[in-house]
Symmetry: C2
Subunit: 204 residues, 2 copies
């Protein structure tokens, strides 16, 4: 209830506008009453992140570890972007709960089936997760440094990049000025999954 109200505030006003008072307003309740049900704002933010992560569905394992890892990545992205304004919460809050562990369990399962030893698999897992989080954080903050996706933005960005007078940036300005989220995500995931599976094969 409180978590749902918090998500409603985030969806409509943005995460910066989330306050105990705003949540109380939505529920038609005195904000102080919330403290009878939740410990404070920090707890509320964790609860929101956890609730969103719980939406992750298990993937059905196939014969292909690469395909499975890509499916997990896609599902993680789906959940993280389901409420774009809340995504930084899902991506940066450190959760000790089972919800936070589910995707980790899923990746470890794929790696074990692929024959990666535990010690190696935790390192690979961490590298993969870091890459996913970095990629998704960039995606939700619509980073100017990493390129716009609308035409006017692309043009503006391109000339700004030229103005910096850095030769390699000038050379690559067309590519730097645009950012296609789906395409970039697929590229990064493919690269990282291939890297992980090359490692897995090394150890077999």
């Amino acid at each position: 209830m409180i978590v749902a109200a918090a998500i409603a505030v985030i969806d409509s006003e943005g995460i910066a506008e989330l306050s105990m008072r705003a949540v109380g307003r939505i529920l038609g309740v005195d904000p102080k009453s919330l403290y009878h049900h939740i410990d404070g704002k920090e707890e509320l933010l964790d609860a929101v992140a956890e609730h969103l992560l719980e939406q992750m569905r298990a993937i059905e394992p196939t014969r292909s570890p690469e395909r499975d890892l890509r499916s997990i990545a896609a599902e993680f992205r789906r959940v993280a972007l389901a409420h774009p304004q809340a995504a930084p919460l899902v991506l940066t809050r450190q959760l000790a709960s089972v919800a936070g562990l589910a995707p980790i369990e899923a990746v470890l399962d794929v790696l074990r089936r692929a024959g990666v030893p535990d010690r190696e698999s935790v390192h690979l897992l961490r590298t993969l997760v870091a890459g996913l989080i970095g990629t998704l954080l960039r995606e939700v903050s619509a980073s100017p440094t990493f390129g716009a996706s609308d035409l006017a933005g692309i043009a503006a960005r391109e000339s700004a990049l030229n103005a910096a007078r850095l030769p390699n940036i000038a050379r690559a300005r067309r590519q730097l000025a645009r950012y296609d989220s789906d395409q970039e995500f697929d590229y990064a995931v493919k690269l990282m999954v291939d890297m992980v599976s090359a490692r897995a094969k090394d150890r077999t």
Copy 2:
């Protein structure tokens, strides 16, 4: 001056305690006076991130693109962790300035020397940067999910992981419970750099 005061506040009190009033207090000035020199709190946060990023030193290129990329990664980490409490700013703020572009220029330069075509190099750059940012964000938030580094923390974490009753997590609990920042960073960077350079060689 204002930026230096803001960094002093962040270093001693943490980023959550940074306020216009706290900066004014350090400078012995009315917080409202700050608005004559800076546009507001958001601008101040950008200015702090930018000032910290400016500390990046150029690396001297060698014959080895792999070594150069690792040097750039190490330098980025040094700068990001120079003020650990300010790291999230450096890692998540989107900067349009030249300071933000310097590391990008450096990576592109290495990739160009290695013979990677522009279109490919921007994708590789983005994947690499995302992996670095994800890795460093985890490092500074001392993520419980990703393991502690002190002995008591490791033991506590290990039994918590066991309690989750997820078989693969239980199997890998020893590796999951500990997190050695230096080692994890080196592992992730080596993996990502090798992945990038394998791509580079494909295209030559």
